[in-house]
Symmetry: C2
Subunit: 342 residues, 2 copies
């Protein structure tokens, strides 16, 4: 992964997307051949089988293994919280980052339960991005630099990357990204986040509509959507998704907010998130439709809407178990089990 | 748990169902009170929160813990396999039991992945139950004795019981149970099992229709359905479900086949499976509707149709993680995180 130069950074990022490696068909074929010999009816493990093929396809490993699964949580702050779009004060972003460090959050417990690594990357929390109703979140250099920061996060031998986030106000930013990319009305994409009331919901819709209206025709340019109405954690997550493809790391993105970063990359090139699975359908409004727009089927649907990568960790546990099952099962020949008769 | 006496055994089993303990409202209230203090928006963990409450309700523990989760796989053989209803020969049931013992099956790998105990209980595999098209599966004493065997399986300090099965031909038996209990046409409940072709599917439907027609009005009596058109693993699973309630052990039943045992208990008394969660929606035909008839919402939907408790293990991992998350998270006070503003 070359570092992003200071000149024309978005062109460089577009180039990284254009040069993404494809899937490893030979690895998939090897997994399918072995799967057909395992002591079970063909196809009977359903999604576990296709998830194992997916890991093979994007890791390029004919004998896939998950030995270093890591949850990366990207945290950012947003000027738009001044507009009363969240039920929690902005300070909670930093407080939760400290809670992650102390081991007290839900994602800490989930990573402990499944023996996953956890990296928390806080992004200039004392410098919230400007209010996207009236100003762009970044200039191009800053946006590309934040994407590059996200790209660096995937180093260290990670072989399954689970992406989550923390950021008071970021469901509003995610809704703006979905609305910009997918059209419709603001209320098609806005949810109640961490728990706003009816007035708060109305404010969120107004903010989302105003932010997207402000950028006009720029909504057809995914990197401009990210730059103008996104935020730091979104840029970093998009960078991590792009870098993971080049590093041959399968990616599971969490839910509603992390999904908006995946949607930006998908809008750059539909195949650019073929190495990405969506962890779960969030209870946050509009997410099921966003998943459909990305051409994906979420792994889980547990009515969750926390963020932090909590859904990604649960889906990652399914993926890890799927790969371990494929690797560890006996074949019909090894076990002396008769194969299908007819 | 008292042992089942030889006289009037079904009356004794009905009595066990009638005397089932209720849920522990105080334990649920304690879990809800703690949940409201944890560093996350209220409700944001969705199903994880309600699953933790469910464990508290049926374990009676205000501070629920999952420390001894066990998958029990009940294996039986069925005379109806002589009618060509399965793609695999009957010998595969024993071969797979040996595969479980050797650690080569999918369920072995899933139990390893999640650190679950595994008990395999084979039920007179050399003596298949008679062909249910022409004869009852058991007499009452044998059926009740097999249920009692299943009841014994839940001993040993298990605190989360995951129930699965293995038995060539048992999707046909499960379909007959669902058709008897829920009516409709055989094809509403019959699936392709481990992979029969169109002719095999037609044969399964004919067998299911003939078996249910044979018992006539007995289909309104759940224990008679179990005795006349069931099988050994179904009786043992029903026994385990009933015993677990008395032993205050929450139960996760796997999919289509194990679900038919739960359906028998549910038909005896709707509240009799309130301590039971359905692991996943099987890809086997009719299962989604059977889950609905039981008033349940499955935890997972991964297109699986293997049996062995494979779906139950995955759902059990979600439950165990949910309980651990509740137990281990910090409160707002402990973490110094500000609570919701409005």
């Amino acid at each position: 992964m070359s570092s992003v130069p200071s000149a024309l950074p978005f062109d460089d990022i577009r180039d990284l997307v254009a040069r993404m490696p494809g899937s490893d068909a030979a690895a998939v074929a090897a997994v399918r051949a072995r799967d057909g010999q395992l002591t079970k009816p063909p196809g009977s493990l359903g999604r576990l089988e296709t998830l194992t093929e997916w890991v093979a396809a994007w890791s390029g490993r004919a004998q896939p293994r998950i030995q270093r699964p890591v949850v990366c949580v990207f945290a950012g702050n947003h000027g738009v919280t001044d507009r009363g779009v969240s039920a929690f004060p902005r300070e909670v972003t930093r407080q939760m980052v400290e809670n992650f460090a102390a081991g007290g959050a839900a994602i800490n417990q989930l990573c402990l339960a499944f023996d996953f690594g956890l990296k928390v990357l806080d992004l200039a929390l004392d410098h919230p991005t400007p209010d996207i109703v009236v100003a762009d979140a970044f200039d191009e250099v800053a946006c590309a630099a934040t994407m590059a920061f996200g790209m660096e996060a995937v180093a260290g031998g990670i072989d399954l990357l689970m992406i989550g986030e923390m950021g008071i106000g970021n469901t509003t930013v995610a809704a703006a990204i979905y609305h910009a990319l997918y059209g419709g009305r603001p209320e098609d994409w806005v949810g109640r986040g961490t728990g706003v009331d009816d007035d708060g919901f109305r404010r969120k819709c107004d903010v989302v509509g105003a932010a997207v209206d402000r950028i006009g025709s720029a909504r057809t340019n995914p990197l401009e959507v990210l730059r103008r109405i996104g935020g730091r954690e979104f840029a970093a997550m998009a960078g991590a998704i792009i870098a993971a493809r080049h590093e041959r790391i399968p990616v599971i993105v969490d839910g509603y907010v992390a999904g908006a970063a995946a949607a930006v990359v998908h809008a750059m090139a539909p195949g650019a998130i073929d190495h990405v699975e969506i962890a779960h359908v969030s209870a946050e409004g509009g997410h099921a439709e966003a998943v459909r727009r990305m051409g994906k089927a979420a792994i889980l649907d547990l009515g969750m809407r926390l963020g932090e990568g909590s859904g990604a960790a649960l889906a990652g546990a399914v993926v890890k178990a799927a790969v371990a099952t494929h690797a560890g099962m006996a074949t019909f020949g090894q076990a002396g089990v008769a194969e299908k008769e007819r």
